[in-house]
């Protein structure tokens, strides 16, 4: 855990914008999770599902929502019970909480987005092993109020989901020539027709959908992020 906590935001790193409870400010938490300390782009955590599932935008969005929901609930439950969490056994407690939450999320997904659940397969239960979630529990939620942890969980979850969707959209667009195809698998009232379609003649650049394409495009995304940050 030392490795991850050294790169994650703790109370000390955040500018305190004069909030009464002396916790990190709402705005600082949001911008940390979404941008300056984004779990995927900066901490480089949880890359296995990120690279595996981002072959289409809607797959990315589905796993993104499931992951965001998990990190939010995990942060809330860890911070709410932080008075009972003994330092020696904090990791087993986090794991119990996170695995319980993920199992609940996958049951709910199975019930309300069945086709999507079948399509994502093993990657829904595998959210348990996403270390971005454990890192938030360890370095933030176990030391902060429920309110601050909720904001942090939301920001981290959305930050992760946005990267999944952006990478998924890029891979789908390049590899398949469509954008947000099969949206009905996640939202029953949307049509299965893609939002954007290059047409039948576009054969697609196959590598974008295959695993190497995930690595290449994710690398480009990191370059892009660092260019903006270091400007």
């Amino acid at each position: 855990m030392n490795e991850t906590s050294s790169t994650t935001v703790t109370n000390h790193d955040l500018p305190n914008a004069g909030v009464v409870n002396s916790g990190p400010s709402f705005k600082a938490l949001l911008s940390a999770g979404l941008w300056s300390n984004n779990p995927a782009l900066v901490q480089l955590l949880g890359l296995c599902p990120l690279l595996a599932v981002s072959n289409t935008a809607i797959n990315g969005l589905s796993l993104g929502i499931a992951t965001a929901f998990t990190v939010l609930l995990s942060n809330i439950s860890v911070s709410a019970s932080r008075r009972f969490i003994l330092p020696d056994i904090r990791i087993p407690i986090f794991v119990i909480l996170i695995s319980g939450i993920v199992t609940m999320v996958s049951l709910l997904m199975n019930a309300y987005a069945h086709e999507m659940f079948l399509r994502l397969g093993i990657f829904v239960p595998l959210i348990i092993t996403n270390c971005a979630i454990l890192a938030r529990a360890e370095s933030f939620a176990s030391k902060n109020t429920v309110f601050a942890s909720t904001i942090d969980g939301l920001a981290t979850g959305i930050g992760f989901a946005v990267v999944l969707v952006v990478l998924g959209a890029a891979r789908e667009l390049i590899g398949q020539g469509t954008l947000f195809a099969d949206a009905h698998l996640l939202f029953a009232n949307l049509s299965s027709a893609p939002l954007l379609n290059f047409g039948e003649q576009y054969r697609g650049l196959l590598i974008a959908i295959l695993p190497p394409g995930a690595f290449i495009l994710f690398g480009l995304l990191l370059v892009f992020k660092n260019l903006i940050t270091n400007k």
Binding site: D88, S99, G100, N110, H114
Partner: protein, 207 residues
């Protein structure tokens, strides 16, 4: 007594705390499971019926397709095959047989093959596969119409040598850049027809 209990508690603090967390989480899980159980079962049923109905037109049955299920051993592959019998007025009209092609490019390809009682194919669909996107996944109806080229085929039409890809002087098209995948599907569909021939008296028997 009270002191003993307190001592037991304090010396096992870690275990007690961990146990309490496990208890709370388990309770929450049990609640979620109970709340979602009927909906998940319903989803699975609808999904199964929808997949089955894709390989057999509605004119061949008057009941839910997953109502009559028969498991029979396949002597050729040595595994069990699941067959769904389609009946009208309790008289068998067709069967849908599950099939698995084990020689695909990336793992198993699961299929459903609908066969009318005279041995002609009413439809074939791929239910699960890991073939290369953009190449081998043309076996999905979503990607190409290829899987429909089995409709109306039987062991008599084409004859045995025709159950192969065009490049092997057969009747079925290969895909650009992928021959292993369609070959595996063609071979497995043929094997399924042979299995049907071997057990059809059992499958189509009146109850």
């Amino acid at each position: 007594m009270n002191d003993n209990l307190r001592q037991l508690f304090s010396s096992n603090r870690h275990g007690v705390v961990l146990g309490c967390f496990a208890l709370v989480v388990t309770a929450a899980l049990a609640l979620t499971q109970t709340a979602t159980k009927s909906r998940i079962e319903y989803n699975e049923k609808i999904h199964r019926q929808k997949t089955l109905s894709e390989v057999l037109p509605a004119q061949w049955y008057d009941h839910p397709l997953d109502q009559f299920i028969v498991e029979l051993p396949d002597n050729i592959s040595g595994t069990n095959r699941t067959s769904y019998i389609a009946k009208i007025n309790a008289i068998p009209q067709a069967v849908i047989i599950s099939a698995t092609a084990t020689d695909g490019y990336a793992g198993n390809i699961n299929l459903l093959v609908g066969i009318l009682k005279d041995g002609t194919i009413s439809g074939v669909r791929v239910t699960k596969h890991n073939e290369t996107p953009g190449l081998g996944d043309a076996i999905e109806l979503k990607r190409s119409e290829w899987i429909k080229s089995f409709d109306g085929k039987s062991l008599l039409s084409p004859i045995e040598s025709g159950w192969a890809l065009r490049k092997n002087n057969g009747e079925f098209d290969q895909f650009t850049g992928a021959t292993i995948t369609p070959r595996a599907v063609v071979n497995e569909v043929e094997k399924t027809l042979r299995f049907f021939n071997a057990v059809k008296t059992q499958l189509l028997a009146h109850e």
